[in-house]
């Protein structure tokens, strides 16, 4: 198969470039998505931090609010207690404490559908009844009025007072009086001497000045100490309205959240921009690399194309040189042959020419006897009788010079016979030459190998030295379909080689035989054999053992290529010092195979 340098280079390098570009794109993409991930993680983290911060800030604010109000409520309670406890609440609470509650507490709580414990309606009614009893106490009305007047126009929305059992002894919301709060954590804390507060949101709340809506309230359970001791003697519950403060806190929180959101948005924008930039940069990078690769490809392509041009040119030149050498080889063989043939022609030419010139000379001596014979015949024609009279007075001297020419006539005939032989020799030579060159025949034809070999041997004999004997041993072989002129060249070459392998006297044997449906031709010489180191190379083009300028190294390669073109094989066996046999096998052209082909 032909090696197409430019095409293979183009496919391979473009393919590789595409792979490189794809790989590069993939990695750039990976990098971009990693960058994106990092950015979003960062954004997430900052968001989280901001949210956390906002929450903590709000919590701190609420906590502060609670603490401040608790303190305020404690102060208030203290004030309140100083103002109302001794005189008003202490006796009132003592009276409430005297009302038994155990009958109410004895009623079992029930579990609601949501799993929470609930007071059954009977229990609620029991406490209501208790509240009614408390409200029915005589001091209640003045106490309530005093509390209302004290708390009017303050941020205190509600005031409750519990007895030591946790029963609501007073509430600014009258309905709540009698409620049992002994399970309440705030109450318990207060009973232990610790004030506790709670921020709650109420949709509806009964305040001193009526029902209010949507309010944030701080409720504080506050212990009331006996004057001058740590002993808790009661518990206040004060509800303070902190809606305004809480709104402020909420506003601050909202502001912080807005800022955070703004920051986030900003960050998102920056991230997006960065991502855009990064992907733009990586796209640019890929484009530049692709461009550079294309540039590289273009320059390499130019180099490779130039290289291919040069290679082609060199190949062409080699081909031409090879053809010229092959032609030179053929011409050298032809030249040798022509010289040999010329020499062979020279011998018959020499003696024929010599003979003919002798015959011409010889014929001159027959001029006089023929003249005499003619004169005699003329005289005989003029005479009727059997006798003639010749007047030789004038011609005696001439007639005496005529000698017996019998031998001469025989000799002249022999000379001409020899000349004829010479001409036949020349004709044979010319015929063989024509058979050898076959310029006037079909190029490819069925060919009698034996006849062809005989012609080649005849021609070769004129080239090879006389000291070498050529033996032809032909057996009946079928014809071969071939180009006879080419096969003649093959055989002449092999016979010539055989002759050159024989340094002194020797013998070349040419044999034909039929072997496995193929015609086998053996050309054996008694020459020097082929050295072992030369054997592997003898069919190599340009390999020659002859001095430079004498051998082209094309003889045997041409033999091989011609034989192989004819579907045959050529091989050799050689023994150092004993000779070489070249064996050519050619497919026989059997009539059957021809029929099959037809």
């Amino acid at each position: 198969m032909r090696f197409r340098l430019v095409r293979y280079f183009t496919f391979a390098s473009l393919g590789m470039f595409i792979v490189v570009t794809l790989a590069l794109t993939y990695f750039e993409h990976q990098q971009a998505s990693f960058f994106k991930e990092v950015q979003s993680a960062e954004a997430e983290f900052i968001k989280h931090v901001q949210a956390n911060f906002a929450k903590q800030q709000e919590e701190a604010a609420r906590h502060d609010l609670l603490a401040i109000h608790e303190r305020a409520n404690v102060d208030l309670t203290l004030l309140f207690a100083n103002m109302l406890w001794e005189k008003d609440f202490a006796p009132f609470v003592a009276k409430v404490q005297a009302i038994p509650v155990d009958q109410c507490r004895a009623i079992e709580d029930i579990t609601g559908p949501d799993g929470k414990k609930k007071q059954p309606d009977s229990k609620k009614a029991c406490y209501q009844e208790l509240g009614a009893k408390i409200r029915a106490l005589p001091e209640y009305k003045s106490l309530d009025a005093k509390v209302f007047s004290a708390m009017k126009k303050s941020s205190v929305f509600k005031v409750k007072v519990f007895d030591m059992r946790g029963i609501t002894a007073y509430s600014s919301e009258a309905a709540q009086i009698g409620d049992d709060k002994n399970g309440n954590a705030g109450w318990k804390n207060a009973m232990a001497g610790k004030p506790s507060s709670e921020l709650t949101h109420r949709d509806k709340f009964s305040a001193f000045e009526g029902v209010v809506e949507n309010r944030d309230l701080i409720s504080s359970y506050l212990p009331v100490h006996a004057p001058g001791s740590d002993k808790v003697i009661g518990v206040f519950e004060v509800y303070t309205d902190v809606t305004g403060f809480l709104d402020q806190i909420k506003q601050t929180s909202a502001k912080i959240a807005t800022t955070a959101r703004d920051n986030e948005n900003q960050m998102e924008k920056v991230a997006e921009y960065n991502l855009d930039e990064v992907s733009k940069m990586s796209n640019n990078g890929i484009a530049i690399v692709a461009g550079l690769l294309l540039l590289l490809f273009a320059s390499l392509f130019a180099i490779v194309r130039r290289a291919e041009t040069i290679i082609r040119q060199q190949e062409h030149e080699r081909e031409q040189a090879h053809q010229q050498l092959a032609q030179a080889e053929k011409m050298a063989l032809l030249g040798q042959m022509v010289a040999g043939v010329a020499h062979q022609l020279n011998t018959p030419l020499a003696f024929s020419r010599s003979n003919i010139s002798m015959v011409i000379d010889g014929l001159k001596s027959f001029e006089l006897p023929l003249k005499v014979a003619h004169a005699f015949a003329r005289t005989v024609r003029k005479t009727d009788g059997d006798r003639v009279t010749l007047n030789i007075s004038r011609t005696r001297a001439q007639l005496q010079t005529i000698e017996s020419q019998d031998d001469d006539v025989v000799m002249l005939a022999q000379m001409l016979g020899d000349t004829l032989q010479g001409l036949d020799q020349m004709r044979e030579l010319v015929e063989n030459l024509r058979d050898f060159t076959r310029l006037d025949r079909e190029k490819v034809t069925h060919f009698d190998i034996n006849k062809g070999l005989h012609t080649v041997v005849y021609i070769a004999k004129s080239v090879i030295p006389n000291r070498i004997e050529v033996v032809e041993e032909y057996s009946d072989v079928p014809e071969v379909e071939c180009n006879p002129s080419q096969l003649n060249q093959v055989f002449l070459n092999l016979i010539n080689n055989a002759a050159q392998a024989i340094p002194d006297n020797g013998k070349i044997t040419i044999r034909t035989s039929l072997e496995d449906m193929r015609v086998r031709i053996d050309i054996t010489d008694t020459g020097s054999g082929i050295p072992a180191d030369v054997q592997p190379h003898i069919f190599d083009t340009y390999f020659t053992t002859k001095p430079a300028g004498e051998g082209t190294g094309l003889g045997l390669p041409i033999v091989k290529s011609i034989v192989e073109e004819h579907g045959g094989t050529v091989a050799f066996t050689t023994q150092d010092g004993a000779g070489t046999t070249f064996t050519v096998h050619l497919p026989a052209a059997f009539p059957e195979t021809l029929l099959k082909a037809a």
């Binding site: 010289a339 020279n346 003696f351 010599s354 002798m358 022999q414 000379m415 006389n466």
Partner: protein, 327 residues
């Protein structure tokens, strides 16, 4: 039978050739034939031949080999070699070893071949073979080398025996001057000296002075030129180049000896008779040498005779005529 002019041996592997030669020669000569070299030598031992005509290309023994042996067996017989296509080496060997009298090209002209054989027979019958005696007394023979190669001059000088004089000329006009001044025994020459063809001089010299033994160096001359040199110049030996000193020494002493032989028996020079050179060769040579002299004169002889060209030419002309002896 009439008296025949001589006994001729023809050797060729081709019977037709032998018959043709026989027919041609048998009226004037006694002719015997041999189909190959070995039987030819056998016949030489049995009969006293005057002339041997041999083909060069024969199976077994080549013509040149056969003539070399024949020269030893029958030195009196004149040797003629028939050549068709021969390689140069064989021709040179036949000259150097077989001392061939003539080469005849195949196909031959009957008339010329007859004349050559007749000449050879006459020479063989009339001229005795100079008895080759080792170291014929003599001395002072001069050897002339015509060559412009300094190395060759040195080589020949060293190869010469001390009892000979050595002259050398680097141009043909110088050679003419030397030749006209004193007799020369052995002439050695390149085929071309400078731009001049030296062969006409050698041929003409042999024609006029057959006692001069000439030898020529060969590099790659063609067969035809060698054959002409032999037939017209009777070159004694061809010395192949590159020259081996030992071989040169051998050749030189052999040539000097030959010259002494020829001097001692003047008749023997006829054994080296040459064919007539073509008409006008002499005149052309004289002209060429004068032209060469004029061309070279300003460089070599520029001192005294630069003003006197015509007298210089005249001198050469006189020298030329003295050598070739034209009336």
């Amino acid at each position: 039978m009439r008296d025949k002019k001589g006994l001729v041996l023809c050797v060729d592997d081709e019977p037709n050739i032998l018959r043709s030669l026989h027919w041609m020669l048998h009226k004037e000569f006694d002719v015997m034939t041999a189909p190959d070299g070995l039987s030819g030598l056998e016949m030489l031992r049995k009969h006293d031949f005057d002339v041997i005509v041999s083909d060069q290309r024969m199976p077994g023994m080549m013509g040149s080999e056969f003539l070399r042996e024949a020269c030893k067996i029958a030195p009196r017989a004149m040797r003629i070699l028939l050549t068709g296509y021969s390689d140069l080496q064989a021709i040179l060997r036949s000259v150097n070893e077989g001392e061939v009298f003539r080469f005849v090209n195949k196909p031959w002209s009957n008339e010329e071949l007859m004349k050559t054989v007749a000449d050879a027979a006459t020479i063989a019958k009339t001229q005795p073979v100079p008895v080759p005696v080792e170291d014929i007394a003599g001395g002072g023979e001069s050897v002339l080398l015509i060559d412009d190669d300094k190395e060759m001059i040195e080589l020949v000088r060293q190869a010469l025996s001390p009892d000979t004089q050595f002259r050398h000329a680097s141009t043909l006009s110088e050679a003419v001057t030397i030749l006209s001044a004193q007799p020369v025994g052995v002439l050695m020459s390149e085929t071309r000296v400078g731009r001049m063809d030296a062969t006409p001089l050698v041929k003409l010299l042999k024609q006029r002075h057959p006692e001069i033994v000439s030898m020529m160096f060969t590099v790659n001359s063609d067969v035809d030129a060698i054959i002409k040199l032999i037939n017209q110049g009777q070159i004694y030996r061809f010395i192949p180049k590159p020259v081996k000193p030992g071989f040169l020494k051998l050749m030189l002493s052999s040539a000097v000896n030959k010259h002494r032989e020829l001097k001692r028996s003047p008749g023997a020079v006829r054994r080296h008779a040459v064919e007539k050179t073509p008409e006008g060769l002499e005149e052309k040579l004289e002209q060429d040498i004068q032209l060469e002299a004029v061309r070279i004169a300003p460089a070599t002889a520029g001192t005294a005779s630069a003003t006197n060209d015509s007298s210089f030419m005249h001198r050469i002309g006189i020298g030329f005529r003295r050598i070739f002896g034209t009336a």
